[in-house]
Amino acid sequence: MLQDRTVQPETDATIDRGEPIMRLDHLRRDFASRNGDITAVDNVSFDLYKGDILCLVGESGSGKTTVARMAAGLLKPTRGKVYFEGKDIYEMSKKEFGEYRRAVQIIHQDPYASLNPIHTVGDMLRAPLLKHKICRNRAEATKRASELLELVDCRPVENFIDKYPHQLSGGQRQRISIARAMTLNPRVIVADESVSMVDVSIRVSLLNTMLKLRNELGVTFLFITHDLSVVKYFAWEGNIGVMYVGKVVEYGRTPGVIGRSMHPYTRALAAAIPEADPDLTRSKEKLQLRSLDIPQLTELPDGCVFHPRCPYWVQGLCDVKMPPLVRVAEDREVACHVVQAIVERGGNPRDLEVTDQLANELMRK
């Protein structure tokens, strides 16, 4: 099935696994709040290679957007470094930093808010082209703008270039946002919930447009979403990082993380999602959590942040010691004491079962 798709080329054909284009190194970000400092993101590291797709998945408050903003240079990490093409972005010269900012572009969630209502599509695309001297004059900029509209499948171009945002549908506006992000020939696009506000029937073609940028132009994507079905389609060739309350709990290649998830939180998510298939969804095996509530960032639990909800937790271990993110299989990292212990004992981490014996052994450690 996979080979048939023109938008889904062979694995690694487009990903250049040389030097990472972007490296997020132990990022942490604190925010001041009325009830004291909160840590929105802690200890998050990722390498992004050219042509790679990295999806960050998580529920509200998981810190995925904060990571995206740090990667785009919009927010300074409290601790940790962001490297772009091997250089720490906060030790760059002004010129280098400018180049980095041009090379990393953002597409926001809400196309109704991110496009200026008093400018036409043409104005919005021409302005950066002229300002950054990519085009020398207005005629040249108009030509380039038309090419960009073609690129994002806004055809025929004449129907779009003189329109104002209010004359376009939500999906079309989001295409304009993508075209605008492409004006400066970026190397990396940070897409923050970019298809969340678009109707299902249009969502797929928007994702296809973005995949085309990656497959044909080698653009690298950092893609933020809460929607696992979008991830499965968009990042099939890439990686997923599952975040929970500011931490990465599972990381690996997309098919594995979705099809054979290991961390109890990822499994709870996969089990909770309703499917558009009556027989399948009604017979899906559910994972009962101990609590429905996500902990407050102001009072994070000790030990593993997921333990108050985790059905597999081991008392005396999970509520005391924070599990590190550890490689448990080829292409898979998981932050869970129980998964790690089962793997160490040669067991199958998909059969999460905490026997008394295992619990005792873990406690003694």
Binding site: L2, V200, S201, P255, G259, E275, A276, D277
Partner: protein, 368 residues
């Protein structure tokens, strides 16, 4: 699980819940040719056109559609909660309560309707935080609602409320005396569901009950609604853009497009043998999530029409790979295609999920 085992599990599940697809229970709500219009600076815009459906007691009916399909407008029209700029300009909606008394929803006086609403037919809304008065404790919201319908026995109201909280899995000690802002989104949605059931309505309308909630919270709401249906006797209409919610909760599914009901039938018929191209297109665009196989997806070409200039004939024809000349000229009526499955399509017997047909179409229509 094997396919057979899955089917068996589903059949068992379906038999357990009332209101199966072949339900012969009496009709509780009969909607006929309902049209709703909004006044705009460019004239009257028709948001719901000539929509008809019968809902039987005990059934769970899903109204599915994208933004602008008219699904919420229809729901609001039934409870006469449309904004001032809207009017029901055609059709009727007859409601028969569990005692057999019939109400004409669009011709009752305002006073009669105030008594009817909430006691016979209640609604929960998408943004639960906007329904709950922020300066009132949850307990007072329940007392006030009861009082407005002449139920002044505070002790009985309290008992009923606490019982409902148990049914929607809320901790009464934490919730009863709390202010809405002290509760999480999922808890507020459950409070709002409990509030809608306070007066034992015969019909409950849920507008996007899980939208904007996190996945695990969504699951909790779904499970609560399922268990409520097993414990209490009410009919349910829920409005959603999310097909998977319909797959999970509905006995019958109605697909709406550009203000019209284009397909209406038992949930398994609609999902496994859809006959309207729009339903097929929607199903092709939502992938199964679990499993290790990659599922190619196909978009529906084009964009949803502007309601001020709905295409001639069948409103879906500019986006439809099966359209022929007749579709451009004649709007097909909703017709029975077998059992209780209705479809509004001239070519419903040719409609397939074959992706090549759809991909060929995508290339010829402007992107949405």
């Amino acid at each position: 699980m094997t396919d057979q085992a899955t089917r068996a599990a589903f059949e068992a599940e379906r038999n357990r819940t009332r209101g199966t697809a072949e339900s012969t229970a009496p009709v509780i709500l009969s909607i006929k040719d309902v049209s709703v219009q909004y006044k705009t600076p460019f004239g009257w815009m028709t948001a719901v056109r000539k929509s008809s459906m019968d809902i039987r007691r005990g059934e769970a009916v899903a109204l599915i559609g994208e933004s602008g399909s008219g699904k919420s407008t229809l729901g609001f029209a039934l409870l006469r909660m449309l904004p001032r700029a809207a009017r029901v300009n055609n059709g009727s909606a007859m409601f028969t309560d569990n005692e057999g008394k019939t109400y004409d929803l669009f011709s009752m006086s305002d006073k009669e309707f105030r008594d009817f609403r909430w006691s016979k037919c209640a609604m929960t809304f998408q943004a639960a935080q906007n329904v709950l008065n922020p300066v009132m404790r949850v307990s007072n919201i329940f007392y006030e609602t009861a009082k407005a319908h002449g139920w002044n026995d505070r002790k009985a109201v309290r008992e009923k409320t606490l019982d409902l909280f148990k049914k929607v899995q809320l901790d009464p000690r934490r919730v009863f005396d709390a202010y809405p802002h002290e509760l999480s989104g999922g808890m507020r949605q459950r409070v709002s569901i409990a509030l809608s059931l306070l007066l034992d309505p015969d019909l409950l309308i849920l507008d996007e009950p899980t939208t904007a909630l996190d996945i695990i919270t969504q699951r909790a709401i779904i499970d609560v609604v399922k268990s409520l249906r097993e414990q209490l006797d009410f009919t349910m209409i829920f409005i959603s853009h999310d097909l998977s919610l319909a797959a999970e909760l509905a006995d019958r599914v109605a697909t709406m497009y550009a203000g019209e009901i284009v397909e209406y039938g038992p949930v398994r018929d609609v999902f496994y043998e859809p006959e309207h191209p729009y339903t097929v297109g929607l199903l092709n665009a939502v992938p199964p999530i679990t499993g290790e196989e990659f599922t190619p997806l196909v978009a529906i070409p084009g964009a949803t029409p502007n309601l001020l200039s709905i295409p001639s004939g069948c409103p879906f024809h500019p986006r439809c790979p099966f359209a022929t000349e007749i579709c451009v000229n004649v709007n097909p009526p909703l017709e029975e295609v077998g059992g209780t499955h209705y479809v509004a399509c001239h070519h419903h017997d040719q409609v397939t999920r074959d992706q090549e047909v759809w991909e060929g179409m995508e290339a010829t229509v402007a992107a949405g």
